[in-house]
Amino acid sequence: MSRRSDTRSVLPLQLAAAVVAVGSFAYTASNPLPEGILGAGVVFGIFIALGEILRVTLPGGRQAAPLAAAGSLAFALLPSFKGVPLPGVAFAVTVVTLASIVGSLPRVFVGRGIHLDEVSQRVLMTATAAALIAPWPELLNHGELADLSDVLKSNIQLIVMVVAGALAGLLEIALAAATRANEARMPFSVALVDELRAMIGITTAVTATGVLMALAASKSMDYWALPVFAVPMLLTQFSFRRYSSIEATYLQTIRALSKVTEVGGYTESGHARRVSVLSSRIGSELGMTERELTDLEYAALMHDIGQLAWPDPFPGGATSLIAPVHQRRIAELGAEVVRQSGALDSVALIVERQADSYRPGPGLPDESLPLASRIIKVANAYDDAVGASLDMERMQYSLDRLTGATDREYDPAVVDALARIVDRRFEQSYS
């Protein structure tokens, strides 16, 4: 379960997964399987491969295959099948790896690549879960716990499976966060918070379903456990699908409606879009979380909405060039519009304070000023001066002017971040 990322450079994650998978293949190939276990492997494998096809988009554009994940976890935790104990970690990893690859083939055929990160994470998750429960059958049947009553034993087994599944799920989240931190060059802690927020719901459902499938399949339901317990998972998946679709529509709508100021001649064409893109870049550069970035993007898109209430457009719509008292009035009016929607209060606050100076008087900065507002102020001023132009002298000139005003108007850290982004743009255009 990772962000949209197709075949990229080989990372430690993929390497670790490859080592585990190859080791498991070798072990499985050289050791005979117990009677009847191959059948279980094939059926679970088919289920995982089908689950790999039934994917869902989670909030934040993350891709996941919850049914495949639940099937993998179930097979990793499966204590026995039709009375025959499972042979252990290597076989589980082998089945999950092969099934995930087979399930990805349709994507490969239509040229969309394999979710290599996700498959790697799943392989490691499976290995972890299987390894965590491996010592328990021995303990329960022959070890110190062998004397306990059957009811107690089966509850201990259940708790062990839940804990193993949960730990494996957390590992998977941490691996996804590491992948993302590496890709987006952000701090691991921030990526972990984002990933936990986005994945905790689906991971809970996957863990519960995986444990149930394993228990029911080993007890009495055999193969039936898979389709039966897939039903709740499908409901969860459906609810996530609806949620991400409305999220996407929301963003799309705000983007479209942010054009109203442009169509009305209040701002230059593309201004709101450019300010939002630039603000988001600065925000990630400064290590904002996904949630903060979303608010920032909305606020940046709507930062000029307040101008609609102004009787006449300003020349060129350059709000950074008008009197500060007017800038503030526009910010307030805009915040009022946003606040009226009743749902975006944090965004309204950002819009409201976008025109405030970094240092209200000589000396200390204003602590209450949200970082997002400071970012929009800088991005707005930069875009007012540069616009869609690619003229590097102009970029450098306006950057210098922003830097010159960091003693009062602008946050030096934000301007620095902007400078780094602009530098990178220079490098790209040279190379």
Partner: protein, 502 residues
């Protein structure tokens, strides 16, 4: 409780007494059942789950702060599992716990909710027991189902489970509808169809989950039962986030549209009303619900391009010059420019572009004729004209709804599509139309800064023409209804707080 009329109070009291009698009967019978300790243990465990699920829903309602449409109840599957596990004399004791829900609810509502649940569970459990006996091999009615071995063949549990869930919903619904009808003096059928129409899918979901919980509870372990509820709770959580998002979404569009409308004092609330009239026409003409929903957005956004028209022209009271009229004529094109990237709008974008076309081809921007004009544009055109006529404009006063409908009929085939005019007339005749007088609409100012060019004008306050003169009792009924459907069916009296106060 004193807010309710006498007949309602009598009814509520009767239900509470019946519920109490039910609980006493259940307690007496269960005390004489086999495995009495294990049975009461299971009752306590399941009741705890019900309590936890109610607390979970209450927490969601508080944190997400929304009126949800159809959602999923986590309590229902537990109730249905209790029916299987504990039988007719045990299950009602589990659902009675609903009365203890952790919300700030008046005592009589709690008692009524608890009693209602006891009675419907009693009905559901007997339905299950009788049908299960019919379908099982020994035809034995299991008043106290065995807690160790049970007949779980799909052929003998599926149909009884579905029937039991249905009975539960029907009893619950009937009691709820009666109390609402008594309190609000509305036709019980209206409420019934308003809330029950969408509960077919939840019904199926509850049966399946209830069955799954019971099977896992009895064959694996009660502890594993909790795992069955986990995906459901996650789904419930995501659904309420979805509802909150959806609501945020619509109110955001609305407030942005209002920002646009501030440019012209006379068009306040116009988009909202055109949206409403378009929906009425669409429904009346028998359109599919997804198209109607698209139509709603089309109505809301149809004038968004007016932003490009200078305020001076929009607010001019005299006759417009040709240039000024040309500037106004640009607004559908600009509207299309703004909305064209919105995938979900679909055909609505063309509707926005062409809503000023006329059937005789004398409209703008393209001068299309008759059937060349897409349906959405024809509907918007009728709705737009209807609202313009019934509200005050700078150049004339408002006309009555009857006058406006006569005028629309007079202009059909030249300006408007005859079919959609008749659809509007039929809908307005049936459901009525709330006329708003925009000139006298003084909204509370002070809290919100003025949005117009004149900061001191209270009528230019930012709280714009949303006050679609909705009669008070309708608003109350709507609030009631949204409370009821919150849990995907009729499950309880509205709780005191509307779930919006943290």
């Amino acid at each position: 409780m004193r807010d309710f009329p006498l007949r309602t109070r009598v009814f509520i009291a009767a239900v509470i007494v019946a519920g109490l009698l039910g609980i006493i009967a259940c307690l007496i019978h269960t005390a004489h059942a086999p495995d009495v300790f294990l049975r009461f243990g299971y009752i306590a465990a399941l009741a705890l789950l019900v309590f936890a699920s109610e607390a979970f829903s209450a927490a969601l309602a508080r944190s997400v702060a929304t009126r949800e449409g159809v959602s999923i109840s986590v309590t229902m599957p537990i109730a249905m599992a209790s029916v299987i596990i504990l039988g007719p004399w045990g299950a009602p004791l589990v659902t009675a716990v609903v009365a203890l829900e952790p919300r700030r609810t008046p005592w009589f509502k709690r008692c009524f909710n608890g009693s209602m649940n006891v009675l419907s569970t009693l009905g559901a459990a007997w339905t299950y027991a009788l049908l299960h006996a019919q379908l099982s091999s020994d035809h034995q009615i299991q008043v106290f189902p065995s807690l160790t071995s049970m007949d779980f063949r799909p052929s003998s549990v599926l149909i009884p489970m579905l029937a039991a869930t249905l009975v539960h919903e029907v009893i619950n619904g009937a009691l709820m509808v009666t109390v609402l009808a008594l309190a609000e003096r509305v036709s019980p059928w209206r409420i019934w169809f308003g809330t029950m129409a969408e509960s077919a899918l939840p019904l199926f979901i509850y049966s399946i989950f209830g069955l799954m919980l019971a099977v896992v509870w009895l064959t694996i372990s009660p502890l594993a039962g909790v795992l069955v509820l986990a995906p459901l709770m996650v789904a419930r959580w995501v659904f309420s986030m979805f509802s909150a998002r959806q609501e945020a979404y619509e109110s955001t569009i609305r407030s942005l549209i209002q920002a646009v409308e501030t440019k012209d004092a006379y068009t306040r609330g116009h988009s909202e009303r055109v949206s409403r009239a378009s929906v009425m026409i669409g429904r009346s003409a028998g359109m599919r619900e997804d198209r109607v929903s698209s139509l709603r957005y089309a109505g809301m956004l149809h004038d968004v391009g007016k932003l490009g028209v200078p305020t001076r022209i929009l607010q001019k009271s005299g006759k417009l010059t040709d240039e000024e009229f040309d500037a106004i004529k640009m607004h559908p094109t600009r509207g299309r420019e703004i909305t064209k990237d919105l995938e979900f709008l679909g055909e609505a974008v063309e509707g926005i572009l062409l809503h000023h076309e006329r059937m005789d081809g004398r409209g703008y921007p393209n001068g299309l004729k008759g059937d060349e004009i897409p349906e959405f544009a024809r509907i918007l055109s009728v709705a737009d004209a209807f609202d313009s006529m019934t509200t005050t404009r700078s150049y004339r006063g408002a006309r009555s709804v009857e006058e406006a409908m006569d005028e629309l009929r007079r202009c059909k085939d030249t300006q408007f599509d005859a079919g959609f005019v008749e659809a509007l007339v039929a809908a307005v005749t049936r459901d009525g139309w709330d006329v708003v007088d925009t000139t006298n609409q003084v909204t509370p100012s002070g809290s919100a800064p003025a949005m117009g060019s004149d900061d001191d004008d209270p009528t230019a306050s930012s709280e714009l023409g949303l006050g679609l003169a909705t009669p008070v009792d309708h608003a109350a009924l709507d609030a009631f209804m949204s409370e009821i459907v919150r849990d995907g069916g009729i499950h309880g009296l509205p709780t005191g707080d509307k779930g919006s106060t943290p």
